[in-house]
Subunit: 457 residues, 2 copies
């Protein structure tokens, strides 16, 4: 807390322009980036061509480059690190927190990762290897290996001297309490600030420590979120299967992981797997989006085959074609609302897969009301627009039924997908839309076939 | 950090069942809720009928009730508090942090809020009134009024005694550093832990304090996010227009607000304004969803009028009706992908409204590639399915052009909406879909009209 508020950079427009105008001079560019706030600097960096981006990073101080990498979305950071020379990458990597290091190394290909790790000191390299082996959504994947660690026989005075020592960069512990282990590294206790300040300096930590709440390296994100909600701690110590203290999960790391999960889900619902950013190569962005769109085209063809089966009915009452997209689109919207509510309740932990029936009861109530309301509305529109009362009946009834079907599927499908171990964010939407399209077309065209005598004037 | 890990509750299934099975006995229910983890307890509470929920809350200890309220999504908490008797609501409210208090009071109606505030002590009531006046997405709306506050003439010894004092609940400051003001409350400095531990106990705070980074009560969420990204602090002091220290913004409050914004946006894209939870009253959920769906129906009618204008073409080539929903739906999906990427880049601060042209260039490149790929695919399908080469040409060309149009609109519209002060999360989707529907229908049917001689066998 030593920086002066006046050091905070203003963001003058001319600096921003300077970045865009003179990408050919890396030194000037890095000076300009230096004067921006982290998020402005990151935006300017990402707006450069891949080559100019690398040149700029090489001209930046390793500290600033590390800062920008830590800010960048994970995929971008991985891409940038992958393009740097291993020694330069290692130099920047060494300045990052161990959890960020492990994320980056974990997502680089094996050969790229090893090239960089071989440039690092043996100790940090093996620590990064160890951390990158954990699943990203567990305490092991989220923890940092830097632990403010003491032995039972250490004195209060030693802790206070460590805190006060200018040599030790206290901030890298992000506000941890002192954790106390036995000689074999087993977590034994934690010392509170109050305990440290009220005890004699000669007291051993063993005499003032309390039993800490700890997590296993396998503890999952949901449970970590719960623990941090329930307790005001800034970090929780993580132990391995033998009770050895191996890291500390920071509250901020959990909060960031939860935010990222929410954003990834919202992207996945549009078929965007991974973090697409416009700074990524064109072919990659194109290919990723196409993968999902092509699968979607197949589902669309299946749905369209229902229309194809009723071409005779359509030919007799061509006005039906006007309302087909409307019925399927409106039901799709109703169903997507139900999907969104379920996804949110899932992420808040307010609903579980076994609650599917309860959720369906809640959704079908809304579906009946909204189905009748929308059916009446669109039925009236169809009748008045085309002047055929029976058309209004066919379209209105089809939309009402299809709305009820859509909210039922939309509310429940994410839970069923989750139960069978599929990712509900990816599959719910396409599944829902295909069924509501097919059912919508079928309702309209089969009702029309039955009502044909009243439809043809 | 005094609780034992063994105190952490397991969640036995029978307890969960007990909650569901015996909602008529509030005491047993609250005992059962007591034994659950906060998020499990909240889920059980929300799954009860509104009356049973109130009964359960009345039987709970105020501390547990406060804990559950602090966990609950904001709208739910407001609804629950609104149904409690004012004295009971005040009793629970008094146990919450000042920022949570202010959020709840701010969203209750005036009369409900005043009834509760009149039950509180004058001092806390006026503090809550003051806090609830700030915009929720500013430092003023996010800060807590509890400040670990000292005068310049106070000694280091006084701070250490305050920290060590068992009377003072140190945890409610959530790890703040001691902030130092002059006699008129103007923020003058901050004391680091290291400064406190290395200085003599008789030293004044004035002699060891450093100039803090502070924010104004009007500082917006984006800027706060940037500051916490750039600095490792757990809190930032907030000052009013006169430089008076009025509160502290905690890192955790900012992280929570960012997460909430991301989730709200994802819901808004489906036309769910406000935090819908299935525990809310049926009529409210129905009405909110219908509001957006009804607006959507009008847009659908506008799009459908394009089909209606070409009924003669459709009647001549009935197979066109099979492909109309496919073309509009596929383009809608492509456009929504572009919307999702822009919304994400907006929330990451990687793109600004003035970057619209740059974004368009990036999108149209993807649009041309994907448009040609999808157009060829669907053109081939149409040709082979219906055996008419010209039909393949019409459908393929329409989808290719409409995909390019859709990604252009999808990438840029959120930025334009943001520039004119509209919420891009709400309006982007419906705007996009209406335009891509209309354009898709128009492309297919107008090309077909021109190509009629080759379409009719």
């Amino acid at each position: 807390m030593t920086k002066d508020a006046s050091e905070l950079p203003e963001v003058p427009d001319q600096v921003t322009n300077q970045v865009a105008d003179e990408p050919e001079i890396p030194e000037q560019l890095s000076a300009a980036l230096n004067s921006l706030s982290p998020s402005d600097a990151l935006r300017e960096l990402l707006s450069l061509s891949p080559q100019a981006r690398l040149d700029a990073l090489l001209a930046l101080s390793p500290a600033l480059a590390a800062n920008l990498l830590a800010q960048a979305p994970n995929e971008t950071a991985v891409e940038i690190v992958g393009h740097l020379e291993p020694d330069r990458a290692a130099e920047i990597l060494a300045l990052l927190q161990s959890d960020v290091q492990a994320d980056l190394i974990g997502e680089l290909g094996t050969s790229g990762a090893e090239a960089i790790l071989s440039e690092l000191e043996f100790e940090s390299a093996s620590e990064i290897r160890r951390l990158s082996a954990y699943d990203g959504d567990t305490a092991g994947g989220l923890m940092m290996a830097e632990v403010f660690r003491f032995r039972e026989a250490d004195t209060v005075g030693k802790v206070l001297r460590d805190i006060a020592s200018a040599d030790d960069d206290f901030e890298r512990y992000r506000g941890q309490h002192p954790y106390i282990t036995d000689d074999n590294g087993h977590l034994k206790g934690v010392a509170s600030l109050r305990g440290l300040l009220t005890a004699k300096r000669s007291a051993t930590l063993q005499s003032i420590m309390t039993v800490p709440i700890s997590v296993s390296v396998d503890t999952r994100l949901d449970e970590l979120e719960d623990l941090f909600d329930a307790h005001p701690f800034l970090g929780l110590p993580a132990v391995d299967d033998f009770g050895v203290l191996v890291g500390v999960v920071a509250r901020s790391a959990v909060a960031e992981a939860v935010l990222e999960r929410a954003e990834t889900q919202s992207l996945k619902r549009q078929g965007l797997v991974g973090d697409e950013l416009r700074s990524m190569p064109l072919w990659l962005r194109s290919r990723r989006r196409l993968a999902w769109l092509s699968a979607n085209i197949v589902l669309n063809i299946i749905a369209a085959s229902v229309i194809s089966a009723y071409e005779a009915t359509l030919a007799a009452v061509i006005a039906l074609a006007v309302f087909l997209p409307m019925v399927s689109d409106m039901s799709g919207c109703s169903g997507n609302q139900a999907v969104a509510v379920t996804m949110r309740e899932l992420s808040l932990g307010l609903v579980r897969p076994i609650d599917a029936f309860r959720v369906w009861l809640k959704e079908i109530s809304v579906g009946v009301i909204n189905g009748i309301a929308l059916g009446l509305l669109i039925g009236l529109v169809a009748w008045l627009w085309k002047g055929i009362p029976a058309l209004g009946l066919v379209i209105g009834l089809a939309l009402a039924l299809n709305t009820m079907l859509a909210v039922s599927i939309g509310g429940v499908v994410p839970l069923l997908l989750k139960r069978i171990g599929q990712d509900p964010a990816v599959a719910s939407g396409p599944l829902l839309t295909t069924v509501t399209d097919m059912a919508g077309f079928f309702f309209v065209l089969s009702f029309a076939t039955v009502m044909m005598p009243w439809l043809v004037k």
